[in-house]
Amino acid sequence: MQFFKQLMALVRLNLSGITQRLGPVLTVVIGVTCAVGTLVSLLAMGSGAQRQAMANVRPDRVVITGVGAQRDMPLDAAVTIRNLPGIRKGVDGESIVTLESTVQLESRRRVTGTRINFPLVGVSSTVEQLLPELRLTDGRMFQRGLYEFIVSNPCVRQFTGFEIGARRPIRGNDWTIVGHFDIGAAQQCVAYTDVDTLNSAIGRTSYDRATLMLSSPSDFEALRAAALADPTLHVEVMHEREAVELWFKQLNALLNFVSYFVGSIMAIGATLGAVNSLYAMVDSRRRELATLKAIGFRPGAIVVSILCESVVLAIPGALLGCALGWALFNGLSASPFGFSFQLAVTPNLAIIGVVWALVMGVIGGLLPALRAARVPVTEALRAT
């Protein structure tokens, strides 16, 4: 009990002196701010990309891909997949299954003129029931059998040649853009056309994957078991969330590695700065600390009080860092890996930033605190 009384008194004493030590205090705060700000901003790329990818994920959508190197499925797998159990039936009584076939096409950026790839995805006619978030904003839906496709609005904003009526040659035939659409909050450039028209135009004899809608999310296991038990199907069955995560795993691993690598180095720098500032503070207060010990304050209370001060200084740094990261980078559009997304500074990242700062504060305060506790009373009081 006495320990806490002493501790509170010491902490109050320390904090009341903060305004007189503006230089060292600013060093700690700004060092932590920069370290946390950098870490949070870098992590915001990963979380932004992930948020974007997960924006339209639904628990009742399932992705089926082939197994093995090419991950494709023969055309006759379509019928088998449509007859799997647990699939929701559309208004016409047909299973809501969309078979997809994707080719990467090339376009140019509006501003810089650099080339960028975008996917042209062939889809079945059930796509409108499968993707209720798909909403035509202009023009009309593509028709089966015609060389037509629709593109998402982000394409139109970022790249050239996506106006309605624009033509694009594919394998010697002209394809026309007939509509623009939004798909939920997604910011990706994607184009849709009819899968069989696309496959026959490019001479492809397989589908890349199938996406389907479950009657209810709980039907997943039954569907999966049936698909794996069918000897004619060689497929993998995943929740839409798993499929997206699989796709993002590598990119996220890279982004996280870079973020934590740079964040750690900056944290080491900030910690060294904090150690230095607190050492200076302890040095300049040798007399005061010795006096405190002489009148009966315990070394333990002194150690903890200095740790408290260091942590208290780290927290505004962390908050400021998060705030700066949010103000400067949140919502900023970036396309560092060939596809665009908005950086997202989320509460989760802020928590990581604060924890990061607390660790810096504790490590930075430890050595100076121990030195403070070891100040020899007689020598320090005699010191000038």
Binding site: G23, T38, G68, D72, V103, I170, M266, G269, A280, G338
Partner: protein, 380 residues
Amino acid sequence: MKYLPLVWFGIWRKPGRTVLIFLQVAVAFTLFGVLQGLKTGVDHAISDTRADLLLVFSRLSRGEPLPLATLNQIKTVPGVRVAIPVDLFGGTYQRPTQWVLMVAITPDKDWTSAFTFEIPPAYLAAFQTSRTAALATEEIATKYGWKVGDRIPLESTIANSDGSTVWTFHLVGLFHDSDIGGGTEKILIQYPYFDEARLTHKGTVNHLNVAVQDPRMAFAVADEIDRRFANSANETRTQSLRELAQLNMQSIGDLNFLIRAIVAAVLVALLFATASMMMQSLRERTPELAVLKTLGFTDRAVFLLILTEATAVCATAALFGLVLAMVAFPLASKFIPGLSMPPIVVGVGIALAALVGLVSAAVPAMGAARIQIAAALANR
């Protein structure tokens, strides 16, 4: 020069503090060195890639097959020295997660000049004698413990003439791919054998590698190839290896912006840390400085003394940090190939550090220069 001992003693007045500042600056410039090394490494890697090596892909999409018949048309284009068909297919070794890329090529005369592979002559000869021969990269051979002479079964989705999806190759040698973007988990096999044995997609290739006679003509040759296939069912897109490398790097994107932002944050933090330390240090040394002035040191001399101290510590610490980064490069090259640090980065780094030292010391040094002897000594 005669003030050098004075500077030296100033620096080591509080060894603990100086070591911490030194470490802090060193850490900051290690980061600077690694980031800049990454950037220049990427730039160098691009300019090192071959501009005289063209890759002919389907214009529709990189993954779309081209008919083998395009080869003869490409060979007639003036300026083409060697044209080699390439097909790619993936397989797995023993476990579904152990990926191996199979690169099927036709070992025509002088074929290696159309690739970035370095193959010892003995292995090259052995590869040409057997249809089921394969060459593996050194990296993948080490990873799976393959030795020359082994038979390697690979599972793939493409069926061969036996109806089986297992392809077995005879490893006759190892090679090294000097193109850092080329990936290491791959083996070379013979296209004629592969094409004859597979059941589907016969007579198609993924792309063609073309070596041109004169690197200066590479663009003209590329345009001519694409022109010949324009408006056909198999339109092509021909790009040099260097162009492709540039495109890949562009997709990594705003690397420069990112690096600049981080470096700026590092420097700002550093500036505050060193400035506050200098102020603290000079406050403690006020009486000593007053003594110096009593002995006849001018304001200017005291000012310069302090500046020299700060700059010397920062610059040597930066040098130490940059050396540390350079030592780390060989370790990091496993993850990021091609890291390098040209002298200019070292120069810029040290200059930046000196600047940090100067700026952070300027205000405290001015204060020190303005010390009133009587007041400072009386303070004691």
